[in-house]
Symmetry: D2
Subunit: 352 residues, 4 copies
């Protein structure tokens, strides 16, 4: 089936493998008249790029985006925007050993079961590199949302047992440290932890939090296209995500209705809420408060330890993964979470 | 926008309000030749029906389903199956007081912001009663999956701080006690807790777990229509759900790659896994193990305590909700989780 | 596959067979606040109903529509509108003879090839009666378009070799005579022709023309969702239609660019065109002139003559079709053409 | 809205303008394991390319296609195939004069009314050049259909009053003469006619016929996604098409049921039909006979005569179109018709 298109009124179609000629996205349905250029999109791609810190692989992917259509004299025309990122380094030799083995924690076996055929180079479509196309598309959605007064920011909230302290919160800090944590102290502890895991040829999961501010009340559709339902799909579709929650999320299991209900109040002549347990969404429709989303990213499955697995001949074998892999996925995925949040929000806003 | 249709190859469209003439679903794309009748579907609706236990409201909704089309001589014909549930008791007087007030924890304000107009009787489309239509549709999907050797069962895993013990696990128990907990001991503790909350005019959240067994490897699409992404959307679209996780879910934040990776092995001539941290899905594609989904249900927002809120004239007011409301949502939603899981799985299987 | 839903922002899903419990439509995405009631919709259904003239069968289908949801205090709420028409006369005995024979000109063989199974009673989903659901849905779209100053009217332009003369054009006449021809003289000649065919146990095709006035310029999407492309799909999806054309239509084969181009001019401060060869659509986008669509309806395939065919055992057999069938399809289909035109237009307008 | 994606299970998304960096298509949902390479696709693009005959413009568009993804070791992988055609000659000066004038017969005015903004260079998305992307995508669909025994061929059947004679029919001839007519005699007469129009700074319409052979019975969905409905949309979405018909098409208006019905018979152990008035489709589902589609292409609207029009300031002005334009659109569109037919058929086959 065709599963590479997301959205209804804003349709984002991505394509490409990590080891083919390149990858890209087509953004269809973007409003006309929005200022967009390659430099602007590049700033988002650079946040996702490998080699930006000691926690990320040193692979040299240039990730240079090219706008192929849909922009005329610096502004969107309302027609499809095609974004292309050519692959520059495509040395495939690192993958020769794993061509017929199923890497634990990866989609290799599922792909073979599905297609009877697999592009084993770098995971093909299930490679994390696929998200570069989402980021390029997301940058455009973020720009459109900005014109509506909506801003989106994500960061790493927790790594292993190390959580940020909101008293130290600094979004700028998160943009500058290699783990995207908005709390310098937490970052330093987490950095030590990740360094230790790296030495131990292991990896760690992490929790990413994303806030969308300025979203007016009334966005989202009753029933299936609820704002939170669409966000859940968008975020869970990012490779390593195993959980998504909104507002109080899984904590609602333990708390009472009298604690979870946000009382409405007036803020001047605007309807507001005294608290935001709902995370900005009630009954699938935005309630005017900040949208609060959290995503659980699993540890990088490509670890350097010897692991047991099977190959495509049905033999039990050992596997040792080579190549360069990050000991943690989440920091590079922060901008992907922002992108998918923006694409989802804009899609639903454009239907209103 | 039109947000009441779910799925691509199996399209489920629901309609109806809790206080209109009725509600229903159209199931389009169901394979031909499947045996379906009203009695079979009714058994699923009866699990969702109010008044089944002391933890559920005693409202007398008959919830009798009628098959209007798509079934001929006891078998599906491949054409749309229309399911209608007429509303029998529609006394609206309980809602007169809240017609212009925004109930905390409800979508009332969002609906007004969106449409400038609202059917205030029982929450309209955002009423929990809308899920009856999903259950009727889900019963059909479950039947089709059965013919493929796939079975789905959900239950309440946790209420407040009370969790089930898997050593005591009995699915049958969960079908017989009013809280749908598959552990008699846990049920008894939880029953006490819920009774106490009811006395205190309060409510509680809960955790529902759903297992789909027999799903072959290879289901789901790379990128956006990943099996877990579609499940996340399906489950999050159920009214009170604030979080969805697959397999180890949010625990992945704390664990290491070496712990989270499931090693592949051979089980006779079949590829299998030694553990199931992935919850049966890797890279968005089923890996042949049980699919494990958990959903966090928030506490019933309709509580009998006096609450502060605003009305649609922008005045701060007090609200006291009347009518009959369950102190816990999850038990009646268990069958809704099964239904949405089945609809999602079948939709993706039909595309293969 | 699920092929019973039409539209993107206005989604119309139809269901039902001619001999089941009933048929209906779910209209999702209709704007809130539009006045709709059953009596209004009924006037459209009555135009399609059999037994209205001597050219139409005398079967007694009551075709009474019931609004099941989406309307509150006489106005649409923005949520799905469910429309149900119960079947009242379902005597199936007329069809016993054809259960295993493929009627020439019908979809019987295709259905068997597709599903391996067929509801042989009255053609199942391929029955003309399915269009009653489209008309009920179309009535709502027409009402919404009226609030935007758009009106739609269709009529029979030609039957056999008998064409209307625009000098005699009277839309009222077309609403009153049994052949829906807006020219009394043409009607009288055509009536004679159809009577003769009826005696000869034969049937005739006809040409339906539909005009949508008041459509502003700018409706339709470049490339695939062009207004004319979507209209072509909408109209061709009506059972017996074998051709669709816009404006000059097939005549463009014979004429020159200098004849076909409509020159733009100013009409006061509005852009207008001196002619309307384009039929109101240029490059798939409305140009502000009347939209002009024509549809060719084939002769009723159910004729009373003995015909050769095969049965589902692969034997060549003779077939004699019983029951009551119109000698001409088009007059009852006029309101279906209006309905599908309205649904298509509104869907594209709602995306703007 | 996002209107640049066609299809459900095979999704084709096109992008690009005639004067931007390039254009292309993403083909998502193509089955895995199909042999595809750039040379193969190029043969289709070359049939559409300008400058191939004296009836086509001599603009030097190289139209070289590059496969960017979805093909590995010469075979499709089941993931999206991205096809890019870079624009090589982009001298925009020819268009300076028409930047603010609405060309008669073009979508210029509609685009301005829709977006308030227009890429005036070469018509932007409404340029005929957009169809190059469809042809690249169509080549892939044609290849997949070939593996199923389905072949598709289109040709020009009529230009002005000059029709082909089927006694002289030669598909090879149509591939070799500049007007794509499969009858040498008709071609010679038509060539004279087109030459004369060219001298007179005028243009002509034409009729294209397309045959799909080998389509099994049972393809297409009842009701809205009928095979003929989807084909009508696909073909009408090609820029200059003003009419689409299937089988007897508009002739059904004049003929009787007894003439139009095709009697079924047995051909060995296969169900067949004695005639093919239906054009291979009954009730929207293929009946096993050849699919016969005809499309009416309007005359090229860009003619070199002085024409009256208005500009975007609301002034009546004269316009003289420069640049190079074909006096007839249809010959270069023949391969586009084949492409859209193939894409539509494959999409519906993949849902079966």
């Amino acid at each position: 089936m065709a599963g590479s298109t997301f959205g209804k009124n804003l349709k984002v179609t991505t394509w490409g493998e990590s080891h083919g000629a390149g990858l890209g996205a087509v953004v269809d349905g973007c409003p006309a008249g929005i200022e967009i250029n390659e430099e602007y999109i590049q700033t988002f791609l650079d946040r996702r790029k490998p080699g930006q810190s000691r926690f990320a692989t040193q692979r040299s992917e240039a990730d240079k985006v090219k706008i192929m259509s849909g922009v005329f004299e610096g502004k969107t025309t309302g027609t499809p925007i095609s974004l292309v990122i050519e692959n520059t380094s495509q040395i495939s030799k690192d993958y020769s050993d794993i061509a017929d083995k199923y890497r634990p924690g990866h989609a290799d076996y599922g792909f073979d079961a599905k297609y009877g055929f697999r592009d084993y180079r770098g995971g093909g479509r299930s490679s994390g590199r696929e998200t570069a196309a989402r980021v390029a598309a997301g940058a455009i959605a973020i720009k459109v949302l900005e014109t509506m007064g909506i801003s989106i920011s994500a960061y790493v909230k927790q790594i292993g047992d190390i959580s940020i302290n909101y008293d130290n919160f600094s979004l700028e800090e998160s943009r500058n440290n290699g783990l995207c944590m908005p709390d310098k102290e937490a970052y330093e502890k987490a950095a030590e932890y990740v360094d230790r895991l790296k030495e131990e040829k292991d990896s760690t999961g992490a929790l990413v939090e994303c806030i969308a501010s300025g979203v007016p009340a009334g966005i989202g559709e009753p029933v299936f296209d609820k704002l939170d339902a669409r966000l859940a799909m968008a975020i869970m579709s990012i490779g390593a995500v195993k959980g998504v929650e909104i507002g109080d999320g899984f904590d609602v299991v333990r708390i009472r209705g009298s604690q979870n209900n946000d009382e409405f109040c007036m803020d001047g002549d605007k309807v507001a809420k005294k608290t935001n347990h709902s995370g900005g969404i009630l009954g699938g429709i935005s309630d005017g408060a900040d949208i609060v989303i959290r995503a659980a990213f699993k540890p990088t499955p490509s670890i350097y330890q010897k692991q047991h697995t099977v190959n495509n001949k049905g033999e039990e074998v050992e596997i040792e993964i080579k190549g360069r892999h990050d000991p943690i996925i989440a920091p590079r995925a922060v901008v992907v979470v922002e992108s998918m949040t923006a694409i989802t929000l804009l899609d639903l806003i454009l239907t209103k």
